[in-house]
Structures are given as C-alpha cells and as structure tokens.
C-alpha cells in the first residue's frame, strides 16, 4: 500500500524534493530504500538518500536542478536490471526513478518510428505494435522488464542484434535533461547524418553519466516474412564454436546465433522453462534466420550441412511458433536460471573476434579450474559476445573476491584475444578497472574530458564507467566490504 502517513522528516532536501514531485512520489525511510541499494549487480550495494518518481520531463529537470544547485549527488534508474552496477547509489545519491514515465507517446507506422517515455518496458513496444506487423528489434534477454531508457544508457544488445544491430542503431532522437537541469532535444526526427557532432552517438551507451533521457524516438521494423529456428546439440565445444564460424563464413547472416555450454544447460533445464535438452551434451547452438520467404529454406539446409560436418549429435528445426517460443524462453531466462544451481552468480560480458572462440572458451575453462569456481557460458556466439557466468556463494568467506578475480581474468582473456571488455552490459562499477585492459591513460582522459563538458560538477552518477586514480584505494576497500 502506498504510504498513507504524512511526510515526517526534518531533512530540508527531502521536503524540497517532495514539493517538486509530490509527497507520495518520494521514498526516504530505510525500509523503503533498501530495495534500491543495488541493481542486477549485487556485489556492491549502497543506500540512496532518497528515491523520487517524477512523472514528466519538467519534474525531472526541476529535481536535477535542485540537486545540482545543492551539491546533492544523483542518478537515474530504470528497472534496475543492469548487470554492471550502473544504478547503484555509490555516493548516497538521490535516485531519480523513471518507471512512472512509462507511456507510449506515439506510433508512426508510415515513417516507421515510435516515441516512448524512458520508463516504457522494452517488450511492451513490440507487443503493442505486433498486431500491425511491426516490432522493435533490440531484444535484450531482460526485455520483459528492462526499460528503453535503461537500454539507451547501456546501449543494450540482444540475441537478434547480430543481424539488426544494437540499441544505438535504432535510436532516432532523444530528449535529455542535462546534469545541470536543462532540457535538450537531440536528433532531428531521424534525419540521417545531421551536421555537427553526433550527440546521439555519445549519449547512447554513456551509462547515465551525461544526462537523463526523458523521451526517446526509436526506429521500428516490419516483421520479417518468415522465420526459421534451428537447435543443434554438440558433444564437443570446439565443434560447436567451429560451426559458428563456418555459418558466418558461408555468407549467412543469421538473425540470432546463440550458444550454451553444459553447465548453462544444467541451469536452464532445472529452472522454470526447461526444453528437455539432453544433459550430457557439451554445447548447444540456437540459430535463427529470417527475412523474405524466398531463400530461407536454402539457408536452413546450409546450416544443417555445416552442423553435420562439425559432428553435431542431433539437430532439429522448430516445427511451429510454439516450439520456437519455448526454445527462446529457455534461452532468455538463462541468467536467472543460474539461481537454481548456485546462490550467486557474476556475469561477465566480453567480446572477442569470432575465430578465437575455441581458444578463449578453453582459457575460461582453465580459469574455472584455477579459481575452483564453476563457470557457465551462455552467449551471443554470432557476434563473439561472451557471457561467462561465474557461480559462487557469497556466504562463504572469500568466494566473492575469488569470483571477481575470475571475472577479471576472463576479461583479460578477451582483451588478450584482441577483443574488448564489454559487449552490452556496460562498465558501471564492475569493470571500471578493467577499462585499463583496453584503453591507455590518455584515451581514458579524452573520454573523461567529454564527461566534464556535460557533467561539470560530477554529481550525476559519479564513480562509474572510468577508473580514476584516486579511486583505486576505494575500490579495494569496497571489495573488502563486499566480502
């Protein structure tokens, strides 16, 4: 029930903020705030000062302006499904939750675009236009719950981004409240290649450090004429990875090309959406092709051939939408499913050149042995976006640290293979130190200079995305505290 009692506080800031958003749209009691101490990344946690729920852009701007004028740290939060700690109030921030700004503002089928508020849930967009034959392409596995505002901040990807590209390829315009409280429109009705700096590009994926997104114009696509989905079981991980390379080398661009290994399969099969995968296989591939009907069958046949050449144990094509949906539900709930086989998990998010897949997976296997922790792999194999899931139990002293070390080692392996430390989950708190694996101090400085232009007082989402020399000690301290 919504809190009935009046606002009982002597804190002048809380009173002021309540005056902006209304007394029912602010939380400040310990029991209400504790649910906001972390997001989908639970290794760190910190209590916010308050959580406010603005219902329109002007309120967001007023809250931001108040915080900025009064030196109060603040940050934006969507559904809190982020996996790198981007929405964790490290500095006791005022959290600006966007979940009450959740309207679909307009759909323009003719020009193939839609305008949404930032708290609008990803999957709802597709659901509300699917009867007209359209959909929104970026489909992170968390799409049942995550917000499009959060997707923009993290430049979210998904299974089908192999063919269609990640969030940034689908954003046409943004309305943003700058860290000092000004309202700004960027992107002009989707006109491609607008003159001047590409501010849309800078804002998308900035992990909530450059401004708060309050309105988003997205591109929507027409449903493909046809879709076919293949499920292939392999007795050898190397064969599975080789098949991935072969499919892409054959010139096929699947809409999705996903892989799960044995431990991952154990997890999804003991969870809420089992498919009945055999438990003794080493890897499975989930491959989807879509497009105009002509040619799809040839592509499927070619994929089946490649799998056979790579010693597939068995392979099948989904018979109907129902079967397809079942396979996808099993895959998309994969992270959460780890809860059934381990009390905690840490998901990593590295990118590697596709051809190095077998060797990097082998290295991850070694890391698992060295650390004594099981590591499951569920990932977007097609674009080389790995998700090693390190399974641990935070109740056992020392395990959290070990998991963090193993995670970092996995990222090192990706960087060593010529890849990068994040594909889609962002850097947040989790990987700020690992930024050094891929950027020199100068390169990092060039980026923090940009931040300074937007976020001059450094009150918005401080301590995220980049390592800062002064913060190293703090990181260590936090790791200790987490243990």
């Amino acid at each position: 029930m919504l809190r009935k009692k009046g606002l009982k506080t002597h804190d002048k800031h809380i009173k002021k903020l309540a005056a902006i958003v209304g007394p029912k749209e602010i939380l400040f009691h310990k029991e209400e705030l504790i649910s906001y101490e972390s997001d989908g990344f639970t290794i760190h946690s910190h209590m916010p000062k308050a959580v406010v729920f603005p219902t329109n852009t002007e309120e967001v701007a007023e809250v931001v302006k108040y915080c900025s004028d009064n030196d109060l740290p603040f940050l934006a939060r969507g559904a809190g499904t982020g996996l790198s700690g981007g929405a964790i109030p490290l500095n006791g921030e005022v959290i600006i939750s966007l979940v009450k700004m959740k309207r679909l503002l307009s759909v323009d089928l003719e020009n193939r675009r839609a305008v949404v508020e930032p708290g609008y849930v990803n999957l709802k967009l597709t659901n509300s236009i699917s009867d007209k034959g359209y959909y929104y392409a970026p489909d992170p596995s968390s799409q049942y719950c995550c917000t499009i505002g959060g997707n923009v901040a993290e430049n979210a990807g998904g299974a089908h981004c192999l063919k269609y590209g990640v969030t940034t390829n689908h954003i046409l315009g943004l309305e943003v409240v700058t860290p000092t409280g000004k309202i700004m429109e960027i992107g002009h009705d989707g006109i491609p290649d607008a003159p001047g700096y590409d501010l849309l590009g800078i804002l998308t994926g900035s992990e909530g450090t450059l401004g708060i997104v309050t309105k988003i114009t997205v591109r929507i696509l027409k449903n493909p004429e046809e879709k076919q989905t293949v499920l292939a079981y392999f007795d050898d991980v190397a064969d599975g990875s080789q098949a991935v390379s072969d499919i892409v080398s054959a010139g096929i661009v699947p809409a999705a090309l996903e892989m799960m290994d044995k431990i991952a399969i154990e997890g999804v099969e003991s969870a809420a959406f089992p498919v009945g995968h055999p438990k003794d296989i080493e890897a499975l591939l989930l491959i989807e092709v879509d497009g105009i009907s002509a040619g799809i069958n040839e592509q499927i046949n070619e994929i089946l051939d490649v799998c056979k050449k790579r010693n597939v144990r068995s392979v099948k094509v989904a018979q109907d939408d129902e079967e397809r949906a079942k396979w996808w539900a099993n895959r998309k709930t994969g992270f959460g499913a780890m809860g059934t086989i381990s009390p905690d998990y840490l998901v990593q998010d590295g990118v590697i050149p596709r051809s190095t897949l077998p060797e990097v997976l082998k290295r991850i296997g070694e890391i698992s042995k060295e650390s004594g922790l099981r590591i499951a792999n569920i990932f977007h194999a097609g674009d080389g976006n790995l998700h090693p899931l390190i399974l641990f139990d935070s109740r056992i002293p020392g395990q959290t640290d070990k998991a963090l070390e193993a995670g970092s080692a996995c990222l090192q392996a990706c960087a060593d293979a010529g890849g990068s430390i994040t594909g889609e989950h962002g850097v947040g708190i989790e990987k700020r130190e690992e930024m050094r694996f891929v950027f020199s101090d100068k390169e990092i400085e060039a980026q923090t200079d940009i931040r300074e232009v937007f976020n001059p007082h450094y009150l918005l989402n401080a301590g995220k995305l980049f390592p800062s020399p002064g913060r190293c000690a703090e990181v260590k301290k936090e790791l200790k505290a987490a243990e």
Binding site: M1, L2, R3, K4, L27, H29, K30, E31, E32, I34, S35, Y36, S38, D39, G40, T42, V51, F53, A79, G80, T81, S97, V99, K100, K102, G119, V121, S142, Y144, C145, C146, A271, A272, F273, T333, G334, F335, G336, A337, M338, G339, T340, P343, D344, Y345, R395
Partner: protein, 453 residues
C-alpha cells in the same frame, strides 16, 4: 496494510546470538532467498509493482527486505510490515521467476514473524479473531451466520438497506460488496449430512473425497452442489468427510501459522482414507498443496503426512479433465471469457483444463481475455484489508474484460466475488460463473430436453 500505530504493540524481543532480527519461531527459510539472483525478471508480473512502480512493492524488493531482516539490517517493524502485507499472494512472480524462487512462501513466513512480533490489538484484533478463530473453522457457526444472512436477504431488510440510501453511508468497498452479496442457500454438507458417500450415478469408476470449503459451502453452496452433480454424473463416488474444516489459507495469509497448522492437521486426518482430494476453490486447493511448508520448522513429525496429503489434492477441473468426463449434448449458446484465478494458474499450474471443459460445451464461444492470469485483487480478504490497492488491481482487470461477452468464467469463489464487484462498480453486466457450474447447467439442460422428448 494501513495499520494505525496504536493498533500495534511491540513485544519485547527475545535474545538471539545471530545477526538475524527474526526472533520468533518458524523463521523465513534462508534457502528460499538464496535462490534469488536479483535479476528483476519478476517485476512486470507483479500487480503491486505495476501500480506503485516501487521496488519494495515488487517480488524482488520483498525478497530483499525479508533477507535484510535476517542479515540484521532491518527490524521487524511497521515499515517492514507495509510491503509484506501489501503483497496479494497472487504468485504471479513464482511463474515469472526463472530461478523458481518461492516468493509467496517467504512472504507468508515473514508475516508469521510480524504477527508474533506485533499481535493485532484493538478492533482489528477483535475482528480478525472473530473471523479467523471463531467463525471460519466452525462449519456450524458459519451456517448460522449464513442463516442470518439469509434472514437479512429474505426479511426485506436488504431491500430496505438498498433503498434507504444506507448503502451510501458505508465505505465504498463495503457498499459494492453488499450489492453483490450472494443469495445463501443450503450448504452441501448439510444437504448430504446423512450420507457418508454420495454415490455415483450409474457405475462407479472412481472414488474421490471432496473439500467443501468453509465459506464456500455456505455462501456458494450452488457451486458445491454443481460439483457433486458433475462428479457423480461422471462415475465418481463422492465422500464428504465430516471432520474436514477450513483450509487455513486466510489464517496463513494473515500470518497466523499456528492456527494454519491446527487446521491443516485436522484436514490431513479427515482425508487420511482418501486417495484423491478434489477441491473446487482454487485458493483452498492451493493451500492444501502447501501444507508441507507449515511443518518445515515446527511439528516436523507432520511433514511427511502433509506431503502425502498434498500429493492427493487436485482441482476439480483438472481431475475431470484427466479422469474423463461426458461431453454435454445440450447447447448453452453464450459468448464468454475465462479468468485464470491466481491460485489455479500460478499456484497449481492449471490453465488449459478449464478452458477445454468450457469449449466442450456445445454453443460456447470463448473470447480471449488479455492478461487473463493477472490477479483481480481479491486475494482472500485483501480487498477488505487493502481496499486502495485492491481497487487499482480490479480496475486494470476490468479493463481487460472483453466488451462483447455475456459471462466471465473462473475457478475460484474469491475471484467471483471480486469480479462481481467489478461488474457492478464499472457498470458492466456480465454474469460471473464457476466453470463447473456451467458444465452442470449444460448437463441439466440436456436432462430436461431428454425428459421432454
């Protein structure tokens, strides 16, 4: 829960060595929250999160709160009670959660702690005691209360109340409830009180025992009547054990686990001889299957019996579907929609069976209800304890009821009352029916037609 401070007394906490602030018996189960990986995949399934947008009113937030008390970060106090008691017990999160976290179980255990820490006092305590201890567990008393209600309806007082505008003076939710109050007829237990077993019509194929429910048997005796008719018509001998009692769901939802255990033990004993226990109220059926949870920490010697008992329990629609039933021949020409009661769909995984039964009735046309498995807001006595939230949930439910239907069918009396209130409140005119009732009507019509030819 809108609980005024004066209603709550804080008992002196007992001592404990661990950090945990759960200081009373029957503690929340650590294994249940250890499964939660904080992924948030349950958020959108939760009606209270949909309404408030606030994490502490979401499954993930509730699990985190409950864990935080065990970690010693929070205490069992009024602010903790708010989100824990505002949960609808709808179990939608259990369906959505990939890690199979038993959020509902945790909530009930936490409510147990709250009620031990802060017993209800004042008028709330008295009212709750009257209903939960003095009335529901006693079929005789319930019947008398039913008789009073009957008197109220028959005597003309009801008409008077409705005409005099007295209704306008009642709080809104009570007023709407009064207008949908059902006509009380004779309870099944009373009707068949002389028989140990109601014999199958024709050859006996199976034997089942029937849980009549406490309120159900008095307020919804029609449905119980239909259930017995439908079961016996399809070759089932139906035993109605006399020692059976209220299932205890309302008690457990309210945090009174001691009373829950007492009632559970009585039912386990009452149905000891049965191989199959059929329930027609989703809420009761679901509770019966959860009896083992009550004996996890307390009176554990009962756990095994509770597990055996739980395995025998089945919802009437699933039972008929699995054991076979005669397809009715008479037509009931109607357009209807089906509402998934939470404790049937999320609680017992029964979704398709009732739909199949309805579609087997000639002339029935089914219109799909969007979000059919979204809670209606009834959730036991939630609509009385949390009227504001319950109203919000009901409103979004009613928005989903298709315009063109004549009936809304479902498998839970609590939902029926709530949906009837929705129909009344939003000026709609759909008839609210139990799935089994509709099947029974079709059979009756068939018999009548046969009699005429």
């Amino acid at each position: 829960m809108s609980m005024k401070e004066k209603d709550v007394v804080q008992e002196p906490p007992c001592t404990s060595e661990s950090l945990s602030n759960y200081l009373w018996k029957d503690k929340p189960d650590e294994d249940k929250w250890a499964d939660c990986v904080h992924c948030g995949m349950c958020l959108e399934a939760c009606p209270t999160y949909e309404l408030t947008g606030q994490e502490q009113h979401s499954p993930r937030g509730r699990v985190h709160l409950i864990k935080s008390v065990a970690d010693g970060k929070l205490e069992v106090n009024e602010q903790f009670m708010d989100p824990v008691f505002a949960c609808l017990d709808c179990k939608a999160c259990t369906t959505a959660c990939p890690a199979d976290v038993d959020v509902g179980g945790l909530i009930e255990e936490a409510r147990g702690q709250i009620r031990q820490a802060m017993p209800l006092t004042g008028w709330r305590g008295a009212v709750s005691k009257f209903f939960l201890h003095r009335l529901f567990p006693h079929p005789g008393r319930l019947q008398s209360a039913g008789n009073l209600l009957k008197l109220y309806q028959k005597s003309g007082i009801q008409t008077a109340v409705r005409k005099t505008g007295l209704l306008k003076m009642m709080p809104e939710h009570l007023a709407t409830m009064e207008t949908v109050m059902l006509e009380v007829k004779q309870s099944v237990r009373k009707k068949y009180h002389k028989e140990e077993v109601v014999k199958a019509k024709g050859e006996t194929k199976n034997e089942v025992a029937f849980l009549t429910g406490c309120v159900m048997d008095v307020m919804f005796s029609d449905i119980n009547d239909s259930t017995v008719n439908v079961l016996t018509r399809n070759g089932n001998d139906v035993a109605i054990p006399k020692k059976q009692t209220c299932c205890g769901a309302l008690h457990v939802h309210a945090g009174d686990r001691d009373m829950g255990r007492k009632l559970a033990k009585q039912n386990i004993e009452a149905f000891e001889d049965a191989d199959t226990v059929v329930a027609n109220a989703a809420g009761c059926g679901c509770m019966l299957t959860e009896y083992p949870e009550l004996f996890r920490e307390e009176e554990i010697e009962w756990r095994e019996r509770a597990e055996k008992f739980a395995d025998k329990v089945v919802d009437v629609s699933k039972y008929l579907h699995d054991s076979g039933y005669e397809k009715p021949k008479a037509e009931i020409n109607t357009k209807l929609t089906y509402h998934d009661a939470c404790h049937l769909a999320h609680g017992q995984g029964v979704r398709q069976e009732p739909r199949d039964i309805l579609l087997d009735i000639p002339g029935v046309e089914m219109v799909q209800m969007p979000n059919a498995d979204r809670c209606c807001g009834s959730a036991g006595i939630y609509n009385i304890t949390n009227p504001e939230m319950a109203d919000g949930v009901l409103e979004s439910k009613m928005e989903n009821v298709p315009e063109e239907v004549e009936m809304i069918s479902m498998g839970n009396p609590g939902c029926m009352l709530q949906m009837a209130m929705g129909v009344e409140k939003y000026g709609r005119n759909e008839k609210v029916v139990h799935t089994i009732q509709l099947l029974d009507w079709a059979y009756q019509k068939e018999d009548k037609q046969r009699g005429q030819t």
